[in-house]
Amino acid sequence: MIDNLPFLVVAVTILLGLYTILLKKDLIKIIMGISIVESGVNLFLIVLGYRWDSIAPIFTGAPSLAMVMPTVQALTLTSIVIGVATLALMLSMVMIIFRYYKTTDVSKVTKLQG
């Protein structure tokens, strides 16, 4: 159980993000929730690739040559970039929405319905 603490933290982080997404009313807060979920997923991928007593996958003057799994790190890099791109696009959209709606309350940004 305590060995799996990183995974538990990932689960709790993702759940916190989902909680924010579902129960908070502010659009920027919702974006923060999405971002938290995303960080949780990144952490999840990195944690998956960890191996006990091993070093980073770079050939340097390090003591041992047992290395952690490099693939997930590459995936996480891609995922981080995607996260930033999404974040920027969504925040710009919120700025435009505020310009015309004068609110960021999610229950008032509902001109499209029915």
Partner: protein, 522 residues
């Protein structure tokens, strides 16, 4: 020449991406240069897609690994028999989807060259459009889960930015924001699923994972995450709310391609159910889940469509409803193939119907959205309550709209009927009640399009639309291509089913064939 033919799957992505990257630079040189460039790129990329598809249909599955020495060197000799690089696996069903994307992509680019003429920010528009096209090609062609995720994100972002293209009044931005937020969350949960599979099988290749699959609890978790993320992206009913919003607000040509993009997610959903978890997950349960989603989509989609006053919103709800047909067909196929009560024929027929409907839907829904775009382009409104009497001046548009409307309602000589017939018959053998619901939905579809047709084109000339002109030539050509295809597919359904749909259906079912095409032997 051989080199280019060998590298076609790579060029399939590279050409639209190169087009996208160079568009902003070239549009500094002027509008004409950009238009020529856009046409060249879209022609090349569509040609590329069609060539790949024809090669696949002739010679069988293409497996293309990025970055190896020679084309045949997919699996390194010293790797213990697993592919380590990203692999494109194009089998007949991918070829089928590629044809759809290529045809619709070409038409909408041609259309938007003239429909975007009045607006600002055209370089950004075409850049994003090319990125959307490239991402849909990538989603269809890839055989790697993480690579699929990357293309899914590109399509979400490009789609969201295009949906939010009309920035005045902020309504389009609202739709784009909803689309972006939902698809980002879906993508994130999809990535969790990829991580779960990676943790157990240490691979990202679909064939390897399918080969090693043991259906532990984690695999079921991953399955659920994949399933709902992709079902959300394709707009199945309890998660369909984003569909009408974004389809309404996007420029019409983009909407026509967003349909294809959500169908790429639908394809991925089928791929996950049939190939990745082929033979492992309980087909009856999953099949019934898909059927329930499909029936809900059909019914709620069409009933919500009828009272709409906005023509694009109405069509968007119809898109939801037609997605229901596809889900129904494939779900029935999945459930019937595994069940002992039915012969294989029922399942295959339903599967063929579902897949054929994907193609037909892309064609006629594309056509309908393009006609709606023409109406907006000429009349400046989408509100059905204000429109009327356009048939006097816009004859071609009226004919195209009629073709599309009759096709979507399943009136015989058009292609919608052919695929719906397959779905009705197989579903009736599977469960008569569902077939009845499907037919009722079809009738309601016809009813709602009669309403649209009447209120837009019929009636006397209204004073405010006294001198509305016919649509410009490129738009008419783009719609004409789609209309001709709709009629052709309706009159020669058997040829289409034989050459495209049946191989696709067999490729979808035959997951051993998929695995052995990648991993060799076995």
């Amino acid at each position: 020449m051989d080199i280019i033919l060998d590298n076609l799957p790579g060029l399939l992505i590279a050409i639209p991406l190169l087009g996208a990257f160079l568009t902003p630079v070239l549009s500094r040189a002027g509008d004409n240069v950009r238009n020529v460039w856009v046409m060249v790129i879209t022609t090349l990329s569509s040609l590329c897609g069609l060539l790949v598809a024809s090669r696949v249909l002739e010679a069988g599955t293409i497996v293309y690994a990025f970055g190896v020495d020679t084309i045949s060197n997919v699996i390194p000799l010293d790797s213990g028999g697993i592919p380590i690089r990203i692999i494109f696996t194009i089998d007949p069903i991918n070829a089928f989807m590629l044809i759809i994307a290529a045809v619709v992509g070409f038409c909408i680019t041609l259309y938007s060259i003239s429909s975007m003429e009045k607006l600002s920010g055209k370089d950004g528009f075409f850049t994003l459009l090319f990125l959307l096209v490239a991402s849909v090609y990538g989603m269809i062609a890839t055989g790697d889960l993480f690579n699929f995720f990357v293309f899914l994100e590109i399509s979400s972002l490009a789609g969201a930015a295009l949906v939010a293209y009309r920035i005045d009044k902020g309504v389009a931005t609202e739709a784009g924001f909803k689309y972006a937020a939902l698809s980002t969350l879906g993508g994130m949960l999809f990535l969790v699923g990829v991580g779960l599979l990676y943790a157990q099988y240490n691979s990202l290749n679909m064939a390897v994972i399918a080969d090693r699959m043991q259906l532990t609890g984690l695999d079921i978790m991953a399955f659920v995450l994949f399933f709902t993320a992709l079902a959300m992206k394709c707009g199945a009913v309890p998660m369909h709310f984003w569909t009408p919003d974004s389809y309404t607000m996007a420029p019409s040509s983009v909407t026509a391609f967003l349909v294809v993009s959500s169908q790429a997610s639908l394809y991925a959903l089928f791929r996950v159910c049939f190939t990745l978890y082929g033979g492992q997950i309980n087909p009856l349960t999953v099949g019934w889940v898909i059927i329930i989603l499909g029936v809900l989509s059909m019914f709620i989609g069409v009933t919500m469509a009828i009272p709409q006053k906005d023509v694009k919103r109405l069509m968007a709800y119809h898109a939801v409803s037609q997605t229901g047909y596809m889900l129904l067909g494939v779900g029935v196929g999945l459930a019937a193939l595994s069940s002992t009560c039915f012969s294989q024929g029922v399942g295959m027929m339903a599967l063929k119907g579902g897949l054929f409907h994907i193609m037909n839907h892309a064609l006629y829904k594309g056509l309908l959205f393009l006609t709606a775009g023409v109406i907006m382009y000429r009349c400046g409104t989408r509100n059905l309550n204000q429109l009327g009497g356009l048939g006097h001046n816009m004859k071609w548009t009226m004919i195209f709209f009629m073709i599309g409307a009759l096709a979507i309602a399943g009136i015989p000589p058009f292609n919608g009927f052919a695929s719906k017939l397959l779905i009705y018959e197989s579903t009736f053998l599977f469960n008569p009640l569902i077939a009845v619901i499907a037919m009722v939905v079809s009738i309601l579809t016809l009813a709602s399009f009669v309403k649209v047709f009447h209120s837009m084109f019929m009636g006397p000339k209204l004073p405010e639309y006294q001198d509305v002109e016919e649509a410009p030539k490129p738009m008419l050509i783009a719609m004409g291509i789609l209309a001709v295809l709709v009629i052709l597919f309706g009159i020669f359904p058997q040829q289409v089913v034989d050459t495209l749909v049946t191989p696709a259906a067999f490729a979808l079912v035959d997951y051993h064939g998929y695995i052995s095409a990648v991993l060799g032997g076995a």
